[in-house]
């Protein structure tokens, strides 16, 4: 857990990146950072914020006492370059509200948002528009394509806003449509395309200005399951290749696990848990997360090192037993176990570190450790 930094001073910080942030250009460079972000909807936001901070009043109490709705409550996280960060929660949990703070479509009531080292809250309108047009691409649940423009002109819109000449716009747009396998549809109108294709146009539009950051607001929720799986795979491959930092909102834990490098689970505006898919599934933070995780297949998710038992519990040297690296998943362990009566020996860097017996494996599949 990160400690929340002190509230922003009244004058606001300079929008330029500080020296330390510029210096930290590495694999783990932080691209998006939210600290202590609150969003209260309604008229009496200041009172609600003070009461919520000092007395920790609940959402229902805030509504009753001040007529305000707490959308996001003290959210902090950071996303590094190239990472896919999923925000998962049910409808009304504040996930869409939260992600709209990153490009300041929604103003925070309190807290700081830093994107590419710049304080988004301190930006002027011109700088903010520049940031949105150049560095942040966004994809929406209901596509939000302009029905009166061709697919090509839809994709080119972020460039058009910046005043890029038409020849270049069209070239970039056609190239980006190629990335999402939509060659040949450039001159169609969006409503002539199927839902899945429309959302691919949406993705192409988000990629058109080659932004560092992608905000995906439930992009695949409105699509049917088969198309959804297909698009998830395509999207994951594309983003991994282009190394885009991605904030991906979903209400579907399966989707979050398939796509996300890390997952944040939200409930009633609060981030309940942040972790890798494996951490979330194997060590849910509370009963709420546990309930979500219950139905999830662990076969590809749980790795050998998290279920193995210490080597000492099998004092006999197991020479003929199959050996596998600790990063192998349960699926692989099942394949190995089926062919032998011995337990599977787990290795780390070629060294034996643990064993997985059949009973341990079965428990692991079940998800419990007892």
């Amino acid at each position: 857990m990160r400690v929340r930094p002190p509230a922003r001073d009244a004058g606001g910080r300079k929008p330029s990146a500080s020296a330390a942030e510029v210096g930290a250009v590495a694999m783990s460079e932080t691209v998006v950072e939210l600290s202590g972000v609150w969003k209260v909807f309604g008229d009496r936001t200041a009172e609600t914020l003070a009461a919520a901070k000092s007395e920790a009043i609940s959402k229902a109490e805030a509504l009753e006492r001040f007529g305000t709705v707490i959308g996001v409550r003290d959210a902090s996280f950071s996303v590094s370059r190239g990472e896919i960060f999923c925000i998962m929660g049910l409808s009304g949990s504040g996930k869409s509200t939260l992600v709209r703070h990153v490009n300041r479509l929604i103003e925070p009531t309190d807290g700081t948002i830093r994107v590419l080292g710049q304080d988004v809250g301190a930006m002027g309108t011109q700088a903010l528009r520049e940031m949105r047009a150049k560095h942040i691409g966004m994809v929406f649940q209901h596509m939000a394509l302009m029905p009166h423009r061709s697919v090509r002109d839809n994709v080119a819109y972020p460039l058009e806003v910046r005043g890029v000449p038409k020849s270049r716009r069209w070239a970039v747009s056609d190239h980006t449509l190629g990335l999402v396998n939509l060659e040949g549809y450039e001159d169609r109108l969006p409503q002539e395309l199927s839902g899945g294709m429309q959302q691919r146009v949406g993705i192409a539009r988000a990629l058109a200005s080659d932004p560092e950051i992608l905000l995906m607001d439930e992009p695949f929720s409105a699509l049917d399951p088969l198309i959804r799986l297909q698009l998830q795979d395509q999207f994951k491959a594309l983003v991994d290749e282009l190394r885009k930092t991605t904030l991906f909102i979903t209400h579907d834990l399966d989707e979050a696990i398939r796509i996300g490098d890390r997952i944040a689970i939200m409930k009633d505006g609060v981030i309940v848990q942040i972790g890798t898919p494996e951490e979330i599934v194997t060590r849910p933070a509370d009963a709420y997360v546990r309930e979500f995780v219950q139905g999830i297949s662990k076969l590809k998710l749980v790795k050998a090192h998290s279920i193995m038992e210490p080597l000492e519990s099998y004092p006999g040297v197991i020479n003929g037993a199959p050996r596998v690296d600790e990063s192998a998943d349960l699926d692989r362990l099942i394949d190995l176990s089926v062919g032998t009566d011995d337990p599977v020996v787990i290795t780390e860097g070629g060294r034996d570190v643990g064993v997985v017996t059949k009973s341990v494996l079965l428990r692991g599949i079940q998800g419990g450790r007892s």
Binding site: R132, A133, K134, I136, M146, R162
Partner: protein
């Protein structure tokens, strides 16, 4: 963990035994009774029995009789807050009471009796005249005949009066029967109506009246006393006080108010004459420009252009119709005057669109501005044109430009309303997407809002054109030219032929413009 695993199973089997099938459900009267008692307040026992009977009725009208409702009628309804019942039966009871009143104390033959008395007096006059004539030594037979005729007429009037008086019993009996039927209906129907109110009360207990409220009883009593006695008095007594038949209006109020208003308008017209004159000048310049193009240009050129425009925008059929309509207009010598009408409409529409679309955009974006403007727009559309012609004459004089201003008042609301509607209908998600990609408010307006609102705006423009067309005849009343003037002259001299010819010319102009404009909009969609 193990407990939790077993629990749902036992719970499920246990529940399976407890759930009753729909066909075996028993009516829970106790709970219903409590709810009915809360609703009715007084006489809970009676009403729960009555409501149960209504609830148990399978078909037809349930038979319950409410004595309180039958005896007290509208007062019962008022006390229970059943106001629809109150008004309906108050009127029916008053009708019954009027009949009873006419039967008992109304002087039914009074009018005929008075007539008979008048006729007899006249007859007696004639007799005296006859006497005088006979004394003068002339033939009195003419006056005697007149007198006899009048006496016979008086006799007939007397008979009518007697017959009417004999009718009194009849009317009284009708009134009594009517009252009885009304009371019966009240008794039979009140519980049904009251049960409906109970059902509504269950849905919304805050808004629906329950129980007997003393202030409702008082209100019902006051209303009944204010309405019933005066009405019965007015219809049963022969010589009603004039206070009741005509409102005691003071004519000085009227003249004073009219004079004051006139002075105000005159002062305003004098004070703002500079501004009003420049408005008229501006409108005249627009009108002159359009007129110059339509009338100044040689007629073959204008006709060709109109036909080609019709072809390009609405297809060959409309083009042929346009050519035929233009031929009709030109052959009857209406060409110049019809083009004046088109110029008037054109100038009005141009001004409506130029002012209306920006206003509509503003109202579409600002809810508060729209709320303030809406009553004004309503007024512009509902006020009869004849009413605002007068202040327009006062401020802007007579002639074509004031006529165009009157047309604008009538024609502008649709384009404003539909532009605002279109702006508000633009999906928020598309606007959000545009701003997420860095679009400025101006870019959002230009790239998203206006294109998406365009169909609605075009509908507004089309409606504005039609409204302006319909005003063209009316503005001839304040000196507007064009075909309206032809109609107005024909109307003044009741000239049927010229009136009809001019009327068809207007119809053709209107149809031409309508078809061309609609065709153009349909193409665009």
């Amino acid at each position: 963990m193990t407990d939790a695993a077993i629990d749902p199973v036992t719970d499920k089997t246990a529940r399976a035994g407890r759930v009753t099938a729909a066909s075996q459900v028993e009516v829970d009267h106790a709970e219903l009774d409590a709810s009915i008692a809360r609703f009715v307040g007084r006489n809970a026992g009676y009403y729960s029995r009555a409501f149960h009977r209504i609830h148990d009725t399978t078909r037809g009208v349930p038979l319950t009789f409410n004595w309180a409702a039958a005896v007290f009628g509208p007062l019962w309804a008022a006390g229970r807050g059943v106001w629809g019942f109150f008004w309906g039966f108050l009127i029916l009871e008053i009708i019954a009471w009027v009949q009873i009143g006419r039967g008992t104390w109304g002087e039914l033959g009074a009018e005929s009796l008075a007539q008979a008395a008048r006729q007899e007096a006249r007859a007696r006059q004639f007799l005296e005249q006859a006497e005088a004539v006979r004394l003068a030594g002339e033939d009195p037979s003419r006056f005697e005949t007149l007198s006899n005729n009048l006496m016979r007429a008086a006799e007939r009037s007397r008979e009518t009066a007697e017959a009417a008086a004999a009718d009194a019993t009849h009317i009284l009996l009708t009134g009594l029967a009517l009252l009885l039927i009304v009371k019966l209906l009240q008794g039979l129907w009140s519980n049904v109506v009251y049960e409906k109110q109970y059902s509504r009360w269950r849905i919304d207990p805050a808004a629906v009246v329950s129980g007997v409220k003393p202030h409702n009883v008082a209100l019902g009593l006051v209303l009944t006393l204010a309405i019933a006695p005066l009405t019965v008095y007015r219809f049963t007594v022969e010589d009603v006080s004039p206070l009741l038949t005509a409102f005691p209006a003071d004519p000085d109020h009227y003249t004073g108010a009219a004079r004051w208003l006139e002075a105000q308008i005159d002062a305003a017209a004098r004070g703002g004459s500079g501004a009003f004159d420049s408005i008229v000048l501006g409108v005249r310049q627009i009108l002159d420009a359009i007129s110059l193009a339509l009338i100044g240009a040689p007629w073959p050129v204008v006709m060709t252009v109109i036909c080609v425009v019709a072809w390009r925008s609405a297809g060959p059929r409309v083009a042929i119709f346009t050519a035929a309509a233009l031929a009709y207009i030109a052959l009857l010598g209406y060409w110049e005057i019809a083009m004046e009408t088109v110029a008037l409409v054109g100038a009005a529409v141009v001004i409506c669109v130029v002012l209306g679309i920006p206003l509509g955009i503003w109202f579409g974006k600002s809810q508060r501005a729209y709320r303030m403007a809406e009553p004004v727009l309503d007024l512009m559309q509902t006020l009869p044109a004849f009413v605002y012609l007068i202040p327009i004459i006062a401020f802007f004089g007579t002639g074509n430009p004031p006529g165009i201003l009157a047309t604008i008042i009538f024609g502008m609301p649709p384009v404003i309303r539909l532009t605002a509607l279109g702006m508000r209908g633009v999906s928020d998600s598309i606007k959000e997407a545009a701003s997420a990609f860095g679009a400025s408010p101006w870019q959002i307006l230009k790239d998203v809002e206006l294109p998406l609102a365009l169909p609605s705006i075009m509908t507004g423009v089309n409606q504005t054109i039609l409204m302006c067309l319909s005003m063209v005849v009316i503005i001839s009343l304040i000196g507007g030219g064009g075909l309206g003037q032809v109609i107005l002259e024909a109307l003044q001299f009741a000239a049927k032929g010229p009136g009809l010819l001019g009327g068809f010319a207007i119809l053709f102009v209107a149809m031409m413009i309508d078809r061309i404009v609609q065709g153009a909009f349909r193409r665009r969609d």
